[in-house]
Symmetry: C2
Subunit: 347 residues, 2 copies
């Protein structure tokens, strides 16, 4: 399977049919390391390559990942690595790696393993909507399947050992991507975010750590990986997310009730600009598509569906745009091509 095959499908978190009005997608990842090898940050390129050559056929052969696609970072152009990043299949850190680092993913992108990112193995499963418990089951099965074939670094006292101490224990990070335009427009987001931080959850923007919140998209994930069972961590996050979803639902109801005009103006302007602009930055596109998405969810915009908007959230990202144009583009040219794509898709 090539990257082009991958691009011909919508991406794991864009599958239709799920309720994605507020929870766009769920993600679970596990950090694992081999007992008998140095961590990737310590091992040299040669040792990393040995690990990649050892793990790749094992992973490729697992029924949990079948049919699998394999991508060695060293074999990919920068643009191709950026595409995997924009599809949330590899991390920003791995996108900058070369020999000895790679990705084995199920062809539908719903479950995958990064090899020699920060840890030897980063197992990841994604799904549209709120489905942490379901993907945790898949993840758990994959974890066991791998553990049957390679020895994990594990301490009876600490649990799974990882390159960064923040992941030690379960090695688990569960996260959901939320679309919270109602709370943002009602000016009620900050207390909600503060509450999340207080109970030990992290809130980040679309592209993870250190990124700005664009498009009213927020990632919520657990910070603590130690001292609790995986099932409890997952259940806890799902409960919290359902509360945030309820807050967002309330905010949207009050928007319609008390700020109907402000809402219609917000949505109308987003649609007006998206269908008429000739230059759109990545950040502005996200923000306007967020407005459009809200308009569709609240029935203000009737001739478009949410999936069209969600596809644009993915396709307007820099690497996807350039791949589509089959050439490298300067930021200004990307803004032009992005505006053109959005105009075409929305009209």
């Amino acid at each position: 399977m090539t990257l082009d095959d991958l691009l011909s499908q919508p991406g794991a978190w864009l599958a239709p049919g799920a309720d994605t009005a507020t929870v766009i997608s769920s993600r679970v990842r596990l950090a694992r390391n081999l007992r008998d090898s140095a961590f990737p940050g310590w091992a040299g390129e040669e040792e990393c390559e040995k690990i990649w050559r050892r793990l790749q056929p094992i992973l490729q052969g697992l029924p949990e990942l079948a049919p699998a696609a394999v991508f060695g970072m060293a074999d990919l152009e920068e643009l191709e690595r950026m595409i995997l990043f924009e599809r949330h299949l590899i991390s920003g850190e791995q996108a900058h790696k070369g020999r000895g680092s790679g990705l084995v993913t199920a062809q539908d992108e719903s479950i995958s393993v990064m090899v020699n990112e920060e840890d030897h193995l980063r197992l990841q499963a994604m799904s549209p909507g709120l489905a942490l418990q379901a993907i945790w089951q898949r993840m758990h099965a994959l974890d066991h399947a791998i553990e049957r074939q390679v020895p994990y670094a594990f301490s009876v006292k600490l649990g799974y050992l990882t390159a960064c101490p923040t992941n030690v224990g379960t090695g688990l990070r569960a996260s959901v991507m939320l679309h919270l335009p109602g709370l943002v427009l009602m000016n009620e987001l900050n207390p909600v975010l503060k509450g999340l931080t207080k109970i030990g959850l992290a809130v980040r923007g679309l592209w993870g750590e250190g990124t700005e919140a664009a498009g009213n998209l927020f990632q919520i994930s657990n910070q603590i990986t130690l001292g609790d069972r995986e099932e409890n961590i997952i259940r806890h996050i799902e409960q919290i997310v359902l509360e945030v979803v309820e807050h967002e639902r309330n905010a949207r109801a009050r928007l319609l009730e008390r700020k109907d005009l402000v809402l219609r103006d917000h949505v109308g302007r987003a649609f007006g600009i998206l269908t008429h602009a000739h230059l759109l930055s990545s950040k502005e596109a996200l923000d306007l598509l967020s407005g459009l998405r809200l308009g569709i969810d609240l029935g203000i915009i009737k001739d478009l569906d949410r999936l069209t908007v969600d596809r644009l959230l993915l396709l307007t990202q820099p690497a996807h745009l350039q791949k589509r144009e089959a050439r490298s583009l300067k930021p200004k040219d990307r803004d032009r091509v992005r505006a053109q794509l959005v105009r075409t898709q929305l009209s």
Copy 2:
């Protein structure tokens, strides 16, 4: 003639047929005072009323103003006075006056006289496009017609005497309203404005002294009224204006040539927002209509004509909006009604 009759016509500076791409309108005014009465600021209300009762029938009878419409400030609601202001028929100062202050205007609004504004008589003529010399001729004829019937305050040494020393001499102010989006978008406006100030011309926003420049609309007028013949002042301004027009034309040509995309984006966004917003402030409406006007002038927008935009420039002003709705509206409600009007007229 009532105010409603006035409102049924487009306004003197909105007549179709003239080349108004850059010079929207020309205006000339003369400040005159009676020799035998105290200036309005010094005279009491009673004396002002005497003057208004004396001048009104004289003005109403002049063929130069026929057929005339007469409005006593004391007989008008505040909203009606604001409408006369928005049509540039009275000044902001006069709009706040009451008994003893009034307006006599030709019904087509092209020539008019304010009585007891800052001076006893403020003669004014307006025309679309660049037509200072032509309206100066009409103004000159009106001036003589009035002078044949009332004694003007005149000093052989100084010329016509006026309430404010800045008007002494000719009492003449000639001004043109310019639309300069090209220079603004090319970032070349400031040197042009500085040059105008250096040679003794004043530059103001749409609503005269102290107003912000909204909608890329600028009023250029003479500052000096003393020491030169009226014809020279007028000719001088016309020459300067033609130079500014040339600068603007160059800027637009370079915009098309070098910043085509920025231009199309600017125009497209203006159109997109105007046709989809549900709340529009007065300032934003002016700015966006300016973008639309430029788009029409440069052939980027094809299904609309400039007169539609210019009518909206007038009709979206607060008093015109409220008159149209036949009720007083709070700013927020005006923003809603304004957006509605614009959406309807442009689609």
